[in-house]
């Protein structure tokens, strides 16, 4: 899933400036699961705004609304009936959702309430961890199912580096060394011969380095 962090309340207030009619817009997908932008978090941020403005003695209107997704036009269209009543749409979706809402409501100010951070997994309730960087040419078959692009601090294709110590990465002793994990996993699954193969220099053009990406499936188009 896509994982993010809520922006600081102070930053959100600054970005809102003098606007007091706010539509706080949540998304029911990834950001709900990682506890940053679903219906509940929309409730928390809205309550914070109301408490703050009440305290300041201001007049305001905060509306809470959560869409099934903010990355599909059909859902975004559902707020067309009332979006115009607000000065600003405060989107709690990932960066893709924020942009798609802004694209659909061209005359509206759309602000992000979330810092989108990574593609990852739920380690346990309340804990998430990065797993993939969408490089566009997956090499997990070569690395025992552990991604060195996303999980090695240096994205080394032929690691580990000299900083690997006691299974931990040199950046801090909380972070596993991805290459230690890869070697352990290759051993466990009887694939150590893979480790002898030197991975060639990666062609990064399939990733972000090749520019914005787009996918088309002709057979699915209407």
């Amino acid at each position: 899933m896509i994982v993010g962090n809520r922006k600081d309340f102070k930053e959100i207030l600054e970005k809102l400036g003098s606007r007091r009619r706010v539509l706080v817009l949540g998304c029911n997908e990834c950001v709900t699961v990682c506890g940053v932008g679903g219906e509940r978090e929309v409730g928390v941020l809205s309550a914070e705004l109301r408490l703050y403005w009440k305290k300041e003695g201001e007049t305001f209107e905060v509306r809470e609304h959560t869409l099934e997704r903010q990355c599909d036009y059909e859902y975004i269209d559902q707020i067309r009936g009332f979006a115009d009543e607000y000065d600003v749409i405060l989107s709690m979706a990932c960066g893709a959702g924020v942009q798609y809402v802004a694209e659909a409501y061209k005359t509206k100010l759309v602000l992000p309430a979330v810092n989108t951070t990574f593609l990852g997994v739920t380690i346990e309730q309340g804990v998430w961890s990065e797993r993939c960087q969408g490089c566009g040419n997956c090499i997990l078959d070569m690395t025992g199912g552990i991604c060195p692009i996303a999980r090695c601090s240096k994205s080394l294709l032929n690691g580990p580096c000299g900083g690997s110590s006691g299974g931990k990465c040199e950046i801090d002793n909380e972070t596993d060394c991805a290459w230690q994990l890869i070697v352990d996993r290759l051993k466990e699954s009887g694939q150590m011969e893979r480790y002898e193969e030197i991975l060639p220099v990666k062609d990064w053009r399939t990733g972000r380095e090749g520019g914005p990406r787009k996918r088309v499936r002709e057979d699915l188009r209407l």
Binding site: E48, R50, Y52, G57
Partner: protein
């Protein structure tokens, strides 16, 4: 036991403090209360094992939110006591009442007329 505790304390009964949610506390502040405290069982003695530990974490989280919005984290607290410790219940009620009194009315209500 006929113990008295301050009459300004309004009790909201829940099956377990594990039911206490961040939003629940925020709603109370929105409705105009000056402070909220959660009275849970002793740590390690939760009938549902971790309900009171979770409640404590949520109370801590709300403290942060209240700081952010300028109400101050001191307006929310978590206390632990067993069902047989009525004395403690009354003592915490007094303690919290004193604390809130010294903090004054919630600034959220400053534009609302209060009863004398």
């Amino acid at each position: 036991m006929r113990l008295s505790y301050p009459s300004n304390v309004k009790v909201v009964k829940l099956p377990c403090t594990g039911r206490v949610d961040v939003l629940l506390i925020l709603r109370a502040f929105e409705s105009g209360v000056d402070g909220v405290y959660v009275a849970g069982c002793m740590e390690g003695e939760c009938h549902f094992l971790r309900g009171n530990l979770r409640a404590r974490r949520r109370v801590e989280y709300v403290k942060g939110l209240l700081e952010e919005v300028g109400l101050g984290g001191g307006r929310v607290e978590m206390f632990n006591m067993s069902a047989s410790q009525g004395q403690l219940f009354a003592q915490f009620a007094r303690e919290m009442t004193e604390r809130i009194r010294s903090l004054g009315p919630s600034p959220v209500n400053k534009n609302v007329k209060r009863e004398a």
